[in-house]
């Protein structure tokens, strides 16, 4: 139980500087999100050799206030940075694609954790034109090994929430 408790998700207050943008092309809906956090929040653990991960839950749904069945599609992206203190490098791992690469700049690692650039979310054919939709991004931050306690799923914490409405023309 002690080990599990060590790696509970970290909660942060949402920041107004967070941004979420929706891009579309002929076939795909993309989103670009930026998580605004203090630099110390990621920098200090990374310099201490502690792995940091951000879990992005992107959800596309209809604009409904009082109905629960508004979901059309969702996708979860987990980005993780594992520091290497000996070589002073940081291994960036994208769990969604399985791609990883090493960088030697901590700013690159922090940018990797705090931004989601032009990320493909949904096939455009699933949406109707001239219908309002809402893209919501919930971000959870895990500092330490991402072995959450079994009860963390019962009461998930959210570090930041972003929402953006859009309409296909």
């Amino acid at each position: 139980m002690m080990a599990a408790v060590l790696f509970v998700p970290v909660s942060f207050a949402a920041d107004a500087s967070e941004s979420l943008q929706v891009q579309t092309d002929a076939k795909v809906i993309y989103c670009t999100a930026q998580l605004a956090v203090e630099g110390e929040m990621f920098q200090q653990p990374l310099q201490d050799g502690i792995a940091v991960a951000t879990e992005w839950r992107v959800k596309v749904g209809k604009v409904r206030e009082y109905w629960l069945n508004d979901n059309i599609g969702d996708i979860t992206v987990i980005r993780r940075v594992e520091p290497d203190l000996l070589t002073r490098s940081w291994l960036l791992i994208d769990h969604s694609s399985g791609i990883s690469h090493r960088v030697y700049s901590i700013d690159s690692a922090i940018a990797f954790l705090t931004s989601l650039n032009h990320f493909p979310v949904l096939d455009r054919s699933l949406l109707l034109v001239k219908t309002p939709y809402r893209v919501g991004v919930n971000v959870n931050i895990h500092i330490g090994d991402a072995n959450d306690a079994w009860w963390s799923g019962l009461w998930p914490s959210t570090a930041a929430k972003m929402q953006k409405e859009f309409t296909l023309q």
């Binding site: 509970v8 653990p45 290497d84 963390s152």
Partner: protein, 733 residues
């Protein structure tokens, strides 16, 4: 007693106060618990997480349970279920007993955790780890610096440039690379032209791959920037330091030299261990507050669970313990309510079980005793009812008995005196028999007292006497008194029983019967010679009157014989009438008719006033001749007994049942002695009367079922003939 009462009141007051304080215990515990809950309320940076909210929830649930129980206790006005208070006390005591050491253990554990944390995250450990990491990092830096310095010597190496340019054959270039590898200590040396095509290479040991691995981004960066670059690559067989040196020609970079050095496994393993330990340490240090909070909440959670489990176990244990007490209290309550069919179920073989079994035995015996008492009560009730019925029958019998009964106990106290005694002796309604019979022996009871004295002092057990009692109104009763001494042998009562009968009517009837017999005999023996005597006297008067010397004397004598003979004949006639009184021939007669007859018969007397009610059609069933005879007798007596100036009144009074004829006169009246004997035969105040008139009149009245009475002896002298208007068939016959 007053002191004891005051002490009892103080004791009760103290018990009530203690009870009220006990009622507040759950609410006080709830207050303490809610205070602790507020103090431990989770915050965002608390680090307790989900467990903190679980603990808060548990404490709130416990608080609500305590508040609910406390409010129920405060609002409880009636007596709670038996054993519930004891059960609550046991649960509270057991939970408190467990709670106190649990809290102490928690506080001690928290202190130990704090101390432990201080030891774990000591500054010396921190410094040590920093230095260890610096050493490891220094090793890697040293390897990279050495590799970079060595590579700088080959950037403009002519042989390498020739090899990359294609101006050196493969054998020569390979030999050069081998020599270079040996001199620098590199395990692998590769040459790439500007197009990243490998133009040569050697490898110490066995060949690990047929094709050269493509250039990494770092290698390309090295060629692009024209700088020596190193990087650390982790492979299956260990970590390798890879260095890239651009080969710079006269104008630009024309190739790339890539060398590899395998790092020593032991050093690398130690360095990685240092790095892992450092990371873990920093991670633990970063979560220091969270660890402490987690430990506190885990301990609190365990404590709460233990308290809850202890409460449940205590409740079950207390319920099991107090169940026999509750059953016993309930059974006692039912016994108090009168339900004796109570039995406590099988109890454990301990003190409470023994108590329950003793209670069952007591209840069984109590039930048997109550049943016996109820049976005895029923028997007594039935006996009492029977006795009451017998008493009622006896009282009814005595009340309806015409014989007077007086029961006197051995002490001379009157135990019973029935209504007949009062009626016979005409005791007044307010006459109450006193306890001592000797005190009763006065007035009309005087002769009865004398009879009782005689019975009391005689040796025989039975005494019977007939005697006359002079009543206060001058009336004389002829009583038959019988007395018996009640023996105490066997019976519960000893004393004297006096039975008194008024035999005046019987004596009168016997006297009348005797007179009738005398009259019959006289009529038979005297009446026959009287006629020849009278005829002979008349004959003597006619034949020998002229022959006697003194006619006057002769006339007087013969007349006397004739008169007395006639008187004797009348007397005999009356006696004969009295002896052979015919049965009345009843028929309906107008009451006024008899008055009219009397008025016509006595109209010659001016002082006689007959009151006839006009248009009165009241009838009476009677023999008119006999009634007329009675009225004539009464009127004749009044005329003869009063002076010429005295008025005589005859009138009738008719009711639904009776017809009454009243005769009143204003004469001198009848003296007290004569009034008592007035209706006796052969009693007359007239010199020439036979004394049978009123006796015959009374006989006629009685034959009609009525009565002839003297209502007033004087002023006025008042007689009343009362006859029933409807004579019963039986009486008529």
């Amino acid at each position: 007693m007053a002191i004891h009462g005051s002490q009892d009141a103080k004791g009760v007051h103290a018990a009530v106060t203690r009870l009220n304080v006990m009622r507040l215990v759950p609410l006080l515990m709830a207050l303490v618990l809610i205070t602790v809950t507020v103090m431990l309320w989770p915050s965002a940076d608390d680090g307790g997480g989900f467990l903190a909210w679980v603990n808060v929830g548990l404490m709130l649930v416990m608080t609500l349970v305590l508040i609910q129980y406390g409010i129920r206790l405060l609002r409880e006005t009636i007596e709670p279920a038996p054993g519930s208070r004891l059960r609550a006390k046991l649960v509270i005591a057991m939970v408190a007993m467990l709670l106190v050491p649990a809290m102490v253990i928690q506080m001690a554990a928290s202190q130990m955790v704090d101390k432990g944390m201080d030891v774990w995250f000591d500054v010396r450990v921190d410094t040590l780890l920093d230095r260890a990491l610096n050493l490891a990092q220094g090793f890697y830096e040293r390897v990279e610096k050495d590799m970079k310095r060595n590579l700088l010597d080959y950037i403009s190496d002519g042989a390498l440039l020739a090899a990359v340019s294609g101006n050196m054959d493969y054998r020569t270039s390979s030999a050069y690379l081998t020599e270079m590898s040996k001199s620098e200590g590199w395990q692998k040396v590769e040459l790439f032209d500007i197009n990243e095509r490998q133009v040569g290479g050697i490898q110490a040991g066995e060949l690990t791959a047929l094709q050269a691995s493509p250039l990494s981004d770092t290698a390309r960066l090295s060629m692009r920037l024209g700088r020596v670059v190193t990087e650390m690559v982790t492979r299956n067989n260990g970590e390798v330091a890879v260095g890239y040196a651009p080969l710079v020609g006269p104008v630009s970079v024309i190739g790339l030299l890539r060398v590899e050095v395998a790092l020593p496994a032991g050093v690398i393993q130690n360095a990685r261990s240092v790095e892992a330990d450092y990371s873990n340490y920093r991670q633990l240090e970063r979560n220091r507050q969270t660890i402490r909070a987690t430990f506190t909440h885990v301990m609190l959670f365990v404590t709460l669970i233990v308290v809850l489990l202890a409460g449940v176990v205590a409740l079950l244990f207390a319920r099991r313990l107090t169940a026999p007490v509750g059953d016993l209290a309930e059974a006692l309550h039912r016994v108090t309510e009168g339900d004796l069919d109570v039995e406590i179920s099988a109890s454990p073989r301990d003190e409470l079980g023994s108590l329950g079994r003793s209670f069952n035995t007591m209840a069984t015996r109590l039930k048997q005793n109550v049943e016996a008492i109820e049976q005895a009560q029923g028997d007594l009730t039935r006996a009492l009812d029977s006795s009451r019925r017998r008493q009622y029958v006896l009282e009814s019998l005595l009340a309806n008995l015409h014989s007077g009964v007086v029961l006197v106990d051995a002490d001379g106290r009157v135990r019973l005196l029935n209504q007949a005694v009062r009626d016979i002796l005409q005791l007044s309604e307010d006459w109450v028999p006193s306890a001592d019979f000797s005190e009763l022996s006065r007035g009309n009871m005087r002769d009865i007292g004398g009879f009782y004295d005689e019975l009391l002092h005689q040796s025989e057990d039975y005494l019977q006497r007939e005697f006359d009692v002079e009543m206060s109104e001058g009336k004389t009763l002829h009583l038959l008194a019988r007395g018996a001494r009640l023996s105490a042998n066997g019976a519960a009562f000893s004393g004297y029983l006096l039975v008194i009968d008024d035999i005046s009517a019987l004596a009168e009837a016997q006297k009348s019967k005797a007179w009738a017999e005398v009259a019959r005999r006289l009529a038979h023996e005297i009446k026959n010679p009287l006629t020849p005597i009278k005829l002979s006297a008349e004959r003597l008067q006619r034949r020998f009157r002229s022959q006697v010397d003194n006619e006057q004397v002769f006339d007087v004598c013969t007349k006397a014989i004739i008169d007395q003979t006639e008187r004797l004949q009348r007397l005999i006639s009356d006696f004969s009438t009295l002896a052979r009184m015919p049965q009345p021939k009843l028929r309906s007669v107008l009451v006024n008719t008899l008055l009219t007859d009397m008025n016509e018969l006595f109209h010659g007397y001016g002082r006689i006033h007959v009151e006839i009610v006009e248009h009165d059609a009241s009838y009476c069933q009677c023999d008119p001749d006999q009634v007329r005879q009675v009225l004539i007798n009464l009127m004749d007596n009044a005329v003869s007994a009063t002076a010429e100036t005295c008025a005589i009144r005859l009138y009738a009074v008719v009711s639904d049942e009776f017809a009454e004829w009243h005769v009143e006169d204003d004469g001198e009246g009848i003296d007290e002695n004569g009034a008592g004997k007035l209706f006796e035969a052969y009693y007359s105040t007239k010199s020439d009367g036979s004394g049978l008139g009123l006796a015959i009149a009374k006989r006629i009245a009685e034959d009609h079922g009525g009565d002839l009475r003297l209502l007033s002896p004087s002023k006025p002298t008042h007689f009343c003939l009362r006859l029933p208007r409807q004579v019963q068939e039986k009486e008529a016959t």
